[in-house]
Each structure stands twice: as C-alpha cells, then as structure tokens.
C-alpha cells in the first residue's frame, strides 16, 4: 500500500470528480491530481485511459485505469478496506445504497434545468423538483442517507450541493424553502473536511454555468 501510485484525472467543477476526491480524502489516500482541459484539449493520457467515454474522473491505480465515478468510489472502498468504510457492510443496506446512488445519477446528474431552455427547461425543472421531493422523503430525519454514518449515497449527492445555487437561479425555486432537510444535510456534510475541501465554491460554479451556457450552448 505504501508504494501505491494513485493519479486522478479530474476537472475542477465536475460533480463526478468531486465524488472521487471525497472518497480519497475519507480514506486519507495520497494521490496526484491532474486537471484536464475538458473544453479544450483532452490529454493523451485521458484518451488512453478512458477510450470509451473520454471523460473524467479516471482513477489510475498503479497504471491501471478505473472509470465512472460511482464505480471508482466502490473500488476505493474495496481496495482500502481497512479504514473509513464508504458502503454499508450488510448486503441489503449495500443494495439500497447502490440503488439510491444510481437514482442520483439518473435523476439529478443530467441537470437539464441548467442546460436547456423554454419548455424543455421547464420540464427538466419539474422533474428535478420531483426528484428532490423523493430524496427529501428518503433522507427523512436521518443525519445522513445511510443513517448515522456518512457514506456512499451522501457522496453521490453532496457534490451537487455546490450546484444548488445554480439550480435555484435557473429553476427559480428555493432549495432551503422546499427542501429544508436536504439543505441541513448538505451543511452537515460540509462540516466534514473531506467534503469541504473537495467541493467547489458555489459562486465559481454559478460563473461556470453562465459561461458554459453562453459559449458552448448559445444560451443566455
């Protein structure tokens, strides 16, 4: 383990990259972070390590690539299994954790409310609000999605919390007013060092979203 070489191909504002940063920090793993120029030129290393999707994050562990953020988080949990478990140990709880993380990927990740306009944007906003209603219900009065301890589902969703303000701006709704439990939960997670140092400043995310909409999507 002491001789492990761990490289993370990342992008500063990526919610998926942030998930891996959190997992690595939770496990206190030393790694080299390499920023990819996703909107410009992807590195040869990225294209070689992720030829299928050509996306980040990619974890390169002793030269071998692991792709897809939730798969990487599970891999990290299984390799460095001597500390800070990220998934529950009981199979049914693990299945529930995987289900909900998959739900976040399917329903929160697309962020159509930011990238679309007109009717499509309105539909995406409605779907996002419905999704958060479900998540608010699922969280309930628990401190974390997994219960008493911070874990897989929390990691899968908390990286979006630095994007919440952008959702509010473009979706014209208030996370705090409509989803008080999720709002509190996000604050609670931010008290963890692994989360605080992995997430991006929401103001910078907002700037990124506005810029991306203009330059890459031609939207105001």
């Amino acid at each position: 383990m002491a001789d492990d070489q761990v490289i993370l191909l990342d992008y500063w504002v990526s919610v998926f990259g942030m998930r891996v940063r959190i997992a690595l920090a939770e496990k206190e793993i030393k790694y080299e972070s390499r920023e990819e120029d996703l909107l410009g030129n992807k590195s040869d290393l990225l294209l070689k390590m992720n030829p299928i999707y050509k996306k980040i994050p990619v974890l390169i562990h002793n030269g071998k690539p692991v792709c897809e953020s939730l798969i990487i988080v599970q891999y990290i949990d299984e390799i460095w299994n001597d500390r800070s478990p990220l998934l529950p140990s009981e199979p049914y709880q693990r299945a529930q954790a995987r289900f909900w993380a998959d739900f976040v990927d399917k329903k929160v990740a697309p962020r159509g409310v930011l990238w679309k306009k007109g009717e499509e944007q309105e539909a995406a906003k409605n779907e996002l609000v419905e999704t958060f209603k479900i998540l608010e219900g699922e969280l309930g009065d628990k401190p974390y999605f997994g219960g008493e301890t911070f874990g897989f589902v929390d990691i899968s969703l908390v990286t979006f919390s630095c994007w919440f303000h952008a959702f509010e701006m473009f979706g014209k709704f208030s996370m705090k007013a409509e989803f008080p439990k999720i709002t509190e939960w996000a604050k609670r997670c931010m008290q963890r060092e692994s989360v605080a140092k992995s997430l991006q400043d929401p103001k910078k995310v907002d700037e990124f979203v506005v810029e991306y909409r203009k330059k890459s999507l031609g939207l105001e």
Partner: protein, 218 residues
C-alpha cells in the same frame, strides 16, 4: 439466502431474465410473479414506488430494484455459490464498468437503431455499431466476458446475446453481422447454449411475435 424470495418479472423482459439467471446460477429457489406492465399490480407499485418497473426482487419482504443492483445483492448474499462478480477488486470494477456500459449506452443505441426510421436510424446504426465494437474488442480471446464461465457482464449482455437477434429479425436492421463481429457472434452462440442461460430464455418465436405486434402499434 434462504426463506422467501419473490421475483416480479415480465416474461419477455431481458432485465428480468438477468435476475432469474443469477438466482438459478446460485441454486436459490424463488417464486415468480408475472406482471402486466399495462396494469401494474399494487404489490409492484408498493415494492418499487420510485421507478414502478420490473424486475424487483423481494427477499423476506424487503424489496430491491434495478437489475444490476439485484445481481450484486444475489452475489453478496450467497458468496459460496457460483461467482457472478469476480473476486478481485480491479476485475469487479471492470465488470461493473462493462455492465453499466451495456445499460447506459448499448441498449439505448440498439433501441434507436432498430426502431427509429430514416436518418435518425442511420445515425443510430453507426453509433450502435461503434458501441458493439467496444464489446467485440473487450471479449478478446475469451470464451465469455467472465472468462471460462459466464459472469455479470455476460448476464448483463443477454440483450446482445439473445434479444438483439430477435429485434434484428423483426425490424430488418442488421447490427451484429458475423463479418463485422466474429467474436461477439461466437460469444452469443456460446451464451445461448450455456446451461443455465438456455433453460432460462423465453421462447424465441414468442419474443418475435411479441415484438412484431409491438412494432405495429408504434
């Protein structure tokens, strides 16, 4: 595993078959409930309120949805049985990657390529071909994606191994030709012939006539 296991299923649905295949590989008895997706049962809606889809596995009253999540659950609760996922963490990550690739990319592309018409279909055929080529290359010289025996990726690829042929026959779209995909073509033959898989596939003619009817109503 033990005790009561129920699988909510639809006979023609490849995702449901994945779950049944895994149960049979592990030798776990289960009760099968056929769902009519046009008229979903209150039990299905109770056990999968989020997606309202099959398959759902209910173990001692506890439901689990999403076929790939269910496969991992089955594997973890019966670790001494036939291994569905590899034991090595890196190989597990690889198996998860390819299974997800099949669901996230191959399935939608195949659906679009075969069922859409005109220009949309041509572009989709190109995309589906490119995606299938990744699978072709991943197979390398292995008999199955799992190696000597079938594994999670083979089970997930049941759509490619069996259902794709039926869709091609019904729509006339040719995706997985032998000259372009010699390895995948050989694999699909091995796949449908392998023991537990062959006992658990729906009747080919039944699937074809179901798809023909579906095509008419599109």
């Amino acid at each position: 595993m033990g005790e009561e296991v129920v699988v909510f299923d639809v006979w023609v649905n490849p995702y449901s078959r994945r779950v049944e295949t895994a149960m049979r590989l592990k030798g776990v008895p289960y009760r099968y409930i056929e769902e009519d997706l046009g008229n979903k049962s209150p039990l299905l809606l109770k056990y999968n309120p989020i997606h309202e889809k099959v398959p759902v596995l209910v173990h001692n009253g506890n439901p689990i949805a999403e076929s790939l999540v269910i496969l991992e659950y089955i594997d973890e609760t019966r670790p001494q049985g036939f291994p569905i996922l590899p034991r090595d963490p890196y190989e597990r990550a690889t198996a998860r990657f390819w299974s997800k690739f099949i669901d996230d990319k191959c399935m939608p592309a195949i659906t679009q390529a075969c069922w859409d018409e005109g220009e949309a279909s041509d572009k989709a055929v190109e995309e589906a071909t490119e995606l299938l080529m990744f699978l072709e290359n991943e197979l390398k010289e292995k008999r199955f994606f799992g190696g000597e025996r079938i594994g999670m990726v083979d089970i997930a690829a049941n759509i490619v191994g069996f259902w794709l042929g039926t869709i091609e026959e019904v729509t006339g779209v040719e995706l997985m030709t032998r000259d372009k995909f010699p390895k995948l073509s050989n694999w699909s033959i091995e796949f449908v012939r392998s023991n537990v898989i062959k006992e658990n596939l729906p009747p080919r003619e039944g699937v074809i006539s179901y798809l023909r009817k579906k095509r008419l109503t599109r």
